[in-house]
């Protein structure tokens, strides 16, 4: 939701980034204020997931230009774990499996590390168990999840629920959800989206990276951005997503080229 007096949480200016020496992001600009929900859409290969990973600090991606200010500070001065503690959360498109490590252990370590980083109280295993079970209800998750190895053998839907469970535990300021809707059936989509909606408030912001308008029926964005060739080329309200659904992306590209021609 857009609030009149909310402050800027994230300011991305002219961001360039490469992977294996190939430039993927080519001058991306984006401003996100607290309370807002943004959707980033765009064709395959336009750089949406790269943008998400660069913000989180994935080591395979190198920033080659531009700046990102998060809560008034230079985001790139923080290591990935420090960004997470500062409140940047990435919901993974493909959550990673960690065999042998119980989900409950992993979740508690993550929770306590982030709490400690924010100068807040940590929870012992018993306290945490009560706490996490309460949060799991939000996502209609079976408590069996706690005893299983992190994401190992989880179905696509289970993995995505586990991501949102982590978001619920870590209470990020900025949650970037990378294709959280992919691999979800209708019921799971409703549950996951319901969870995200309950976590949204006026002090945090959500950036949804998605291919499909379907998700946006459940999580209504304040802004919809279209990415093409490593930049955000068009921004609109929620109705833009419907237009994209109906017309595809080609017309946006054509419009960008036409404007470029006019400007030149």
């Amino acid at each position: 939701m857009i609030y009149q007096d909310s402050k800027t949480l994230l300011a991305v200016r002219g961001l360039h980034a490469t992977v294996n020496g190939i430039e993927i992001l080519k001058g991306l600009d984006l401003t996100v204020k607290s309370g807002e929900v943004h959707a980033i859409m765009g064709p395959n290969g336009s750089g949406k997931s790269t943008f998400a990973k660069v913000l989180a600090g994935h080591p395979a991606y190198a920033v080659s230009g531009g700046a990102v200010v998060f809560e008034g500070g230079n985001l790139f001065e923080l290591k990935p774990e420090a960004r997470a503690r500062a409140g940047v959360f990435l919901g993974f498109q493909y959550p990673i499996e960690i065999p042998g490590v119980a989900n409950s252990q992993f979740l508690r370590l993550a929770y306590n590390t982030v709490q400690a980083g924010r100068g807040k109280d940590e929870l012992d295993p018993l306290e945490f168990d009560d706490f996490v079970r309460e949060k799991m209800k939000l996502l209609e998750m079976n408590p069996d999840f706690l005893d299983r190895s992190v994401n190992e053998g989880f179905s696509g839907g289970e993995k995505k629920r586990n991501e949102i469970l982590q978001m619920a535990l870590l209470e990020p300021k900025l949650a970037i959800l990378d294709e959280t809707d992919s691999g979800l059936d209708i019921d799971a989509l409703r549950i996951v989206a319901g969870g995200v909606n309950q976590l949204a408030n006026k002090d945090n912001a959500i950036v949804l990276v998605t291919h499909y308008q379907r998700l946006l029926n459940y999580i209504v964005p304040d802004y919809v951005h279209v990415m093409d060739a490593g930049r955000i080329v068009k921004t609109g309200g929620k109705e833009l997503a419907l237009e994209l659904e109906a017309r595809g992306y080609d017309w946006v590209g054509a419009e960008v080229k036409a404007n470029a021609g006019v400007n030149a």
């Binding site: 990935p80 774990e81 997470a84 993974f92 990673i96 960690i98 119980a102 993550a110 982030v114």
Partner: protein, 478 residues
Amino acid sequence: MSTVLQDLVNQPYQHGFVTDIEADVAPKGLSEDTIRLISGKKNEPEWLLELRLSAYRQWLKMEEPQWPNVKYPKIDFQAISYYSAPKPKKTLGSMNEVDPELLRTFEKLGVPMNERAKLAGVAVDVIFDSVSVATTYKAKLAEVGIIFCSISEAVHEHPELVRKYLGSVVPVGDNYYAALNSAVFTDGSFCFIPRGVKCPMDLSTYFRINTENTGQFERTLIVAEEGASVSYLEGCTAPKFDTNQLHAAVVELVALDDADIKYSTVQNWYAGDENGLGGIYNFVTKRGLCKGVNSRISWTQVETGSAITWKYPSCVLRGDNSVGEFYSVALTNHYQQADTGTKMIHLGKNTRSTIVSKGISAGHSNNSYRGLVRIAPTAAGARNYSQCDSMLIGERCGANTFPYIQVNNPSAKVEHEASTSKIGEDQLFYFAQRGVGAEEAVSMIINGFCKDVFQQLPMEFAVEATKLLGLKLEGSVG
């Protein structure tokens, strides 16, 4: 590697072998005269001298094994002095005199206070007033008839027991290093649990008097009579230094009917520096004989030290329905080489064995699992389950699995599972994105990987082992 550990391993360490000849040190080299000298100094009975000489004569005809997947310069056995009178270590007056770096390492590992003192060479009685912990435990064990003393002491105090069992599991000519040990061993532990007695506490070398100078050829013998049970702990997580580069120990376990022996080791000997210089060569023969029906021998080992580890704790399952177990974590980093595993020899009917081996390789190290499961024609209904998992950290290390399976009875059932995994960048990034740094992430992944083995260790040992693995891997990722 952390600076603490780095400083610790950089402490003055004498590479190669002791050169100064002191008053009560045998001349270098091995001959029948050396053996007679050792036996004479220790005032040993004739039968033991004969055993040593027989071992030596067999050793002369043997070749150093070439099959292990390890590389090291040829050892000059004539350059070693095989006997020096045990000299008491310099005892410090209080913990204040101990190197603060060493104390910090203890702190990090969570070594109990009283053990820290002992390990650092502080007289325990100085700290704990008048009552010596060791004496107290010894008295308590004697009450139930358990003998727990050095093997030299046992030779004099309980010659009939030592004579009956010494070399009964590992014959003097068993292999090159066992033969060498049998010829020249100087000391070690002896433990005897009489019929029907359940040892009331875990026995640790820490509680034995005279543990400091067991030397490089250590000999251990543990006998559990009918219905007896014991849990024995060897080693500790604190780093151990020794000026002797070659170590060749022999451990023999004997379990009679319905007896149960659990032997746990945590080994953290000097592994050489990060460039692979120095470090201890550890060539060990450990074998347990399940002699009686329904007996059980369980080996658990956490191997983190030594430049070279050559070690196959084994079980000979002779008694019907007897059970052998082997749980192992072997971690190698830098230029360490480990060739370790087990042998399960099924002779009796319905014998069962379980092998769980977890190898972790980091740095430039090389970690091999080598195991033999042999089902003899007599072992009807025998069963074995083996699981060998390897984990690689980084790009320059290696892991190998060499399982040998020989089945000579059609009613036997043998299963072998193996896996190799790698701690990947994506796993570490996933942890990082949840606020957790690389070292803690690796520690959690490794502990998850080793869970099946750690849960076999006594509680405090397991906690220390967990921390030890984290410490040994510091700096190897991220």
